[in-house]
């Protein structure tokens, strides 16, 4: 199926639904039991969701816990496959779903930068080039040859964020992460995000914090029970969400 996508559309959801089978059968035993009493409960995390995100847009996705926000991010990241409908993504995605995913505790900061960088889609040469920038941004140059298991959780996050922002993404996915780290580093992250915005990077933020979304996003999608309850300008949608 071909999409008539305009050049400036970066992400497009076309009637996307995602079903999860409740009670995963991880052991053969359970599968056999399941076979004996075939009672399948399906859970629809997303139902018929359609939207478009244009290049350079900053879009917020809000909703209560379990409404399907993270499922949308994972579908954009290409980690999940939709049960029906189509997800169309154009460009390099930097998933911030979890910072430092793929860090190995036994590895030093330096080794983890290379590992994480290639995981996020850089070649080794590209990491070579960006290595100094990453270390400078993380402010961890004194600890760069220490195994990350000795890092504090704040340092861990800092290193993860520093790698992620240096990937030069076309689409930046953020899932509630800016709550970590001290105030100074948080501000640094926010500044970096603003810089990205100016450069025309597309940003998708998932959050239940209305304030962050309000500060950042021009458009907001409100998700309720897997469906789009409202979509539009930030102020209007956030009002509907019921939180100031």
């Amino acid at each position: 199926m071909l999409f008539n996508m305009k050049k400036d559309t970066v992400v497009e959801f076309n009637k996307v639904s995602k079903k999860f089978c409740k009670g995963q059968k991880l052991l053969l035993k359970e599968a056999l039991l399941d076979f004996l009493r075939p009672l399948k409960e399906d859970f629809w995390a997303l139902k018929n969701v359609s939207f478009k995100i244009k290049k350079g847009e900053s879009i917020g996705i809000i909703g209560v816990n379990g409404s399907g926000k993270s499922t949308i991010l994972k579908l954009i990241a290409g980690v999940l496959t939709p049960s029906s409908g189509n997800v169309f993504v154009n460009g390099r995605i930097s998933p911030l779903i979890e910072l430092g995913a793929g860090f190995h505790p036994e590895f030093t900061g330096r080794e983890n930068i290379y590992l994480n960088g290639t995981i996020l889609g850089l070649s080794k040469k590209e990491v070579d080039k960006k290595f100094d920038d990453i270390v400078r941004f993380s402010e961890l140059s004194d600890f760069i040859d220490t195994p990350v298991k000795h890092y504090s959780s704040g340092m861990y996050m800092r290193l993860g964020f520093s790698v992620a922002v240096n990937v030069d993404p076309d689409v930046f996915l953020i899932d509630e992460i800016l709550a970590v780290g001290d105030a100074a580093f948080q501000k640094k992250c926010l500044d970096k995000m603003k810089e990205f915005q100016k450069q025309g990077v597309t940003i998708v933020i998932v959050s239940h914090s209305s304030q962050l979304v309000k500060d950042f996003c021009n458009r907001v999608i409100l998700i309720e029970k897997g469906e789009i309850a409202s979509i539009g300008l930030a102020d209007k949608v956030i009002l509907k969400y019921g939180q100031p």
Binding site: L27, L28, V79, F88, H104, L115, G121, L122
Partner: protein, 269 residues
Amino acid sequence: MSGVQIPQCPQMKKLKFLQYQDLFWQLTLREIKVKYKQSILGYSWVILAPLINLAVLSVVFSFLLKVPTGNVPYPIFLFVALIPWTFMSNAISGATSSVIANSLLVTKVFLPKEIFPLSVVASKMVDLLLTGLILVIFLIIYKISFYLSLILLPLIFLIHVILIIGISLILSATNVFFRDVEHAVGLMLMVWMYLTPIIYSIEMVPLSFRPLFFLNPMTGIIDSYRQVILYGRFPDWLALSYSAFFSILLTFLAYIYFKNRARYFADVI
């Protein structure tokens, strides 16, 4: 219709292969380094384990049970088969749990998932290289000449690796859905080892059973290793071609299976 379509701009397409190649090496390097970092003896374990295995089996089978090995001493006869087997055994059991072990990555980042079992198999090749060096020392000690037939070694190894990749792909994908696989794989490998002429020779198998033994693709591979390294003979071409055919077909089907299953890894992991 459903699916994720990720078109890439031309310059990305060129990079894509390179990009995953680098990731592949980084992951392989991780496997190798982690093993080295977590223990005091580190890499010596790689050599120690097969050596002890060899010593025990040699004592048992040289004194208690005579194995006809031609003019080759039993320990070296055993070692030549034990080394590739240990490599396969470690690679398969490591690869089986590799997707689960990387569950954080599977659920967070879009990656070609086969990179996990493949990098485990690649990392075990370092172990193989080290034990291979020990084998060379043994060959020199036992005064076994280096025959011209050794040029066939890469071909046999290639067939062997293809077989390992096929099995690893099937088991690692299945293990995501049924964790039983992880527990069963050790058992399966043990049974398989005794069904393969490793501690005994194929000549000890009664003639009427032999065709059955050669249905096992490892029989042809192990026998070929022995023929070219120890006896300076060509491998049994029929047996080796069967192993090659079996391995290639299996890996082809395994790849299709893995790709199909991989779409649901993040759902259940």
